[in-house]
Symmetry: C2
Subunit: 207 residues, 2 copies
Amino acid sequence: MNTTRPRGPYAKTADVQRRILEACIDAFGETGFYGATTKDIAQRAGISHTGLLHHFPNKETLLTSVLELCDQQNAAFLRSAHALNPGANPLDALTGMLTVVVESELRPGIVELRCVLSGEATSPQHPAHDYFAARSKTARSFYARVFSALAKQGALESPLDPEALASITTALIGGLQAQWLLDRASVNLEITIRAFLQSIVPGLRRR
Amino acid sequence: MNTTRPRGPYAKTADVQRRILEACIDAFGETGFYGATTKDIAQRAGISHTGLLHHFPNKETLLTSVLELCDQQNAAFLRSAHALNPGANPLDALTGMLTVVVESELRPGIVELRCVLSGEATSPQHPAHDYFAARSKTARSFYARVFSALAKQGALESPLDPEALASITTALIGGLQAQWLLDRASVNLEITIRAFLQSIVPGLRRR
DNA sequence: CCTACCGATCGGTAGG
DNA sequence: CCTACCGATCGGTAGG
């Protein structure tokens, strides 16, 4: 029985842990960190409550683990799209980030997770506060480098400086995702974000 | 004893209920609807748990009441700024909304409340889901009328249509407020939003 | 608007 | 002695 899973006694573990984190995406995405219960997460994953706590010792570890998983998946995709080097190919970076947003529409649970948790995490005492604060800073500096590189090439058409555009782009994506979750019929994530980016980066119009 | 409070047995009630709703702003803003407890809210308001439930029969009523209060305060301000008639004075409407955002910085608790609750409320089963969905629609149609009126006057300088700009403006404000809560030092709400609006509405630059 | 409580459920841990 | 769990239950606290 050769499957694609790793050999040895850890094959099952990786599988179960993955199912647990998928359950976390749903549970935290629906009611947030505070609203979710470890017992409900265990039930969704198809294991007992104590079985859950064998793999992840407490609720907070579930939170940090699921955020780590999402980051790894995002990073893996961006690497494969060669979109992580903003200085070298700023246009690729922008289209790469756009594709991530479009792909995310296929997994609304991920969008809900980020939306609900980032809202909760604005409070300093939230266990994911530092994570989201750092993530926000990282996103803004990423876009700032993209827009700076574009400006140097004369490919930026806006009276606003790169830092302001970075802040605006980050806010726009987050805010639009929230809008989309509230009313998926009348909000088109891809078209709206692309239209905004094209209005300030003419080179994006030919893609 | 003539004070500024209304006569009769209801004077104290209005006062207590106001303190309760202020406590709700803090509690819901810190941990969301799910994370907040009615006992904690009672304590913050300086009354007993059952005393709280005398004024508001359950947790959900506290939520709807506090959202109603915020809406009333916003509407009262916008009326006084003559910013609620987008067709007549589109520039006044934009500067009015900008002032609301700036004023909100003086009460971070209100910004946190909206941020945390709107995140939680993206889930359809949340008691404030319909409220935030309707609010989002209202905001977008308001800005769509503002930008349409500006376009008719030839005062709109953007390749994007009024509906897209409305969606972008709404998303930008919400997203920037979230960014500001995570890092107040490096995000300037007023300057960033004003800069964006000025980049598409030249008439705003002279204000 | 208080003290005194309820049915249930919380996050986490015991022994096996 | 390891892993992957189970049924039962801990001390406290939830909304009402």
